[in-house]
Symmetry: C3
Subunit: 361 residues, 3 copies
Amino acid sequence: MLHRKMLQEIAWADFQKLSLAEKAPYFVQSSGRPYHCVMAQQFDREMLDHLCDLATRIRRIGKSKQGMDYLSTLLKNKRAMLYFTQPSTRTFLSFYSACQILGIRPAEVRDPDISSEAKGETKEDTIRTFSSFFDLIIMRTPMQGFAEEMAWMISNTDRPIPIINAGSGKDQHPTQALLDIYTLARSFEKRGGIDNKTVLFCGDLARGRTVRSLSGLLMNYTNVRQIFAAPECLQIGQDILDRLKAAGIEYEVTTDFKGKIPEADAIYMTRLQDEWGDVSGPPYKPEDYFFTGDDLKVLKREGIIMHPLPRRKEISTECDNDSRAVYWRQVRNGMWIRAALIATTFCRDDEITQYYMLNNR
Amino acid sequence: MLHRKMLQEIAWADFQKLSLAEKAPYFVQSSGRPYHCVMAQQFDREMLDHLCDLATRIRRIGKSKQGMDYLSTLLKNKRAMLYFTQPSTRTFLSFYSACQILGIRPAEVRDPDISSEAKGETKEDTIRTFSSFFDLIIMRTPMQGFAEEMAWMISNTDRPIPIINAGSGKDQHPTQALLDIYTLARSFEKRGGIDNKTVLFCGDLARGRTVRSLSGLLMNYTNVRQIFAAPECLQIGQDILDRLKAAGIEYEVTTDFKGKIPEADAIYMTRLQDEWGDVSGPPYKPEDYFFTGDDLKVLKREGIIMHPLPRRKEISTECDNDSRAVYWRQVRNGMWIRAALIATTFCRDDEITQYYMLNNR
Amino acid sequence: MLHRKMLQEIAWADFQKLSLAEKAPYFVQSSGRPYHCVMAQQFDREMLDHLCDLATRIRRIGKSKQGMDYLSTLLKNKRAMLYFTQPSTRTFLSFYSACQILGIRPAEVRDPDISSEAKGETKEDTIRTFSSFFDLIIMRTPMQGFAEEMAWMISNTDRPIPIINAGSGKDQHPTQALLDIYTLARSFEKRGGIDNKTVLFCGDLARGRTVRSLSGLLMNYTNVRQIFAAPECLQIGQDILDRLKAAGIEYEVTTDFKGKIPEADAIYMTRLQDEWGDVSGPPYKPEDYFFTGDDLKVLKREGIIMHPLPRRKEISTECDNDSRAVYWRQVRNGMWIRAALIATTFCRDDEITQYYMLNNR
């Protein structure tokens, strides 16, 4: 468990200089529960297991009307601001649904043009205004490091509230990494969990923050092998490889996606992130990095295909009804793990577990 | 009662070839209740009567705080996506209100530009994503046949949910037809109902889908005479007339709107649908197809004036406070009949009726 | 207490000619509670005290989950339309939150382009449509006098509902004035309340409707001195000064903001309202009308700094953590006083007071 440090006791200039590992303790509560959720690196194995277990309990409780009605009483005294200045229907709806499930009443600001920023307000003042009305801010912005800075800022006012990073620029999208972990944990539930599995990443590994975050979280598990299959110009960053190497984790870098499919327990497909600009490098055939109906034949019988969505052509629609295609379930998993995260942030996790023990076992 | 057929047992290519009457059984549940609500033609007299009766019960229950509080418990375990990529404040708010009345928590996507479609996602994937989060999709799009195709698609996944068509291009807007029927039924409640009445349609009959749908639903009633008054270039389509003729229903086509007012029990005014493009034909005087204060004098004492709204100049505002002008009540009726439809879709209709019998009679 | 007059008994043409004082009685209920909230002038001292007391009770009840859960049952049978065609995140979220606290389910229309107005509907028809679905309309528009006209119109239909003006053009923004009054009342709670204090207004006094409204409401209190500090081109209107003079209220007009700070109990800063167009007049140094860290030194120990927000550079951020800087608390006060106003409009104020007496004292 992380030993909590106080954001009120460090200046922003000093905080910025810390490494990710050094920053992590500043985002937790004294109980070890997350307060702000800013970066994937703040979650250790213990908390990942806790969130996955809780997500499953919430999911099972939610199968009955009685259970769903119970869940909606838990945080009905809370209201959340979903501040999404970068388009993202999927992440937005996932958080919106998670709030609704727990009874949190959501409000949203999605278009900065109709906001006070048009009147010359700073972003800091905008966030501080939200904190006047709401009990939680869930934010997605194109600005790298913004969620982190706002977490520091809001903790230094007389009305601190939790901030959850729903994607900040190219650097962090921690709840996407959580839902990926939860999907792996669910899929391998009867096969010993995530430990000792091989994950094959494919596609735009250079710019997809989901791959970077997931790769990092997988380091919390035992003996997970990571394979990165991409054309040279889209290959994973050297910083990620250095990190894996330093931790003694087995990995492989290749341009031969198709050849690696038989080895994979999980294949993590991604789309070309062209909203971040062009890449340069030797030409390649995109279809070499597509997963098709033919590839189903060589995939392990218990292997799974994941994708953070939206997809373009990386996965052929003919795979959609194969039981190993879990990307639609992955979407729904995002709703459950986010509900688990929010419930834990507000310390209602133990109560949910008690209800589950009494009613669902 | 329709005998249910399974969408999972027919290929899309084959389904598309069916007639409207042949498609209808695929949208119902085994109990005969609607599952998907795709087209006006899927409602028979029995279901129309059921929905009208239920709408009235919900409306009466909702008159007290206790009743409204009861209604809001019925489906509070459900969440709905309102996917409106075609502008429509009125229909949107009507469905939104209907959801709120039943306790359903709504979410919305109204601007496709801020959605994942901007990242190259297909519309099928977008809908399937919604089905991961929500228990009901209410959709309005400019694309003819889209709701129907999505209903087929979603029924062929492992997480089918009901789809309600809130307007798809020029072809269908079934819940508008339901609210028109409910308005007629309420207005003629003490005069023997809709049977044996004369309905006079006026305005842009060529392109207004509401007229086409309502004309069709009226065929479920006995001896309802239909008069179509419009300039030649805006007159009702021959397909509609052929349908009436084949069913042996009395109808009349005329350019003389004013002369027909005294014969009408209900006058259904419509606006020029110029968002669908220009029409060509002989020139006409628009004011010949307006309803004014003078026309009130020749309208039957118990006749009614309807309009799907928004109006422009088709109905003079001096008519607004006449008791026969029911177009504002018609708006509110839309909310009640949509609540009735949704409650029936989720099989809570019998419970509402029981509550009504115990508390409101 | 105002003696109620009926909007149904006066023609719009006649109503328009009345003075503000003559209009006020038309907006109240027979109990003296507000029905429509259209203009600051409709609130007398008795009602201001009532609303401030109620806001404090709601605020204190809301501190516990049990209390917040109680509040959310009060008006859960009601639904509100927030019709904001003029951008205003802060006011919007404040009302949205106030509704959520009381259990009112909100819906919103913020972009007139996606509404029926695009189909040629008049604004009157749009508002009347809203009244078909909702129990309350909260509206903000750039059109002077619009809320007033719609209040008259809706009271003359067979489905009247309350209208709250959330800002109409340059003329009125009554709930902003209420929140300013509440902030003054809370800040001076232990110093005898608002009576006998000095309020120093600074900045764009020519066009800021908040200053005009607050100046008027302060006339309800005893011996409140008003100082207006602004460059000549932005000075307060002569009509306001005439009104103060006629009422025998002490005031002062100056260009020397800095020199007046030591005399003030409350300093009310405002921003340049340049969205209303340019002003002309002799040049001035903007920074002469900024409040900085240095100015904190000469401000009274119990003085307060207010700002309706958003701010630009009028208040230096180094003041933000001084206990006398109340502008962030002022934001939150807006939520409580609006909840108090809405609860009073729907006559749930007495019940809240009873609950408070039983549970919170």
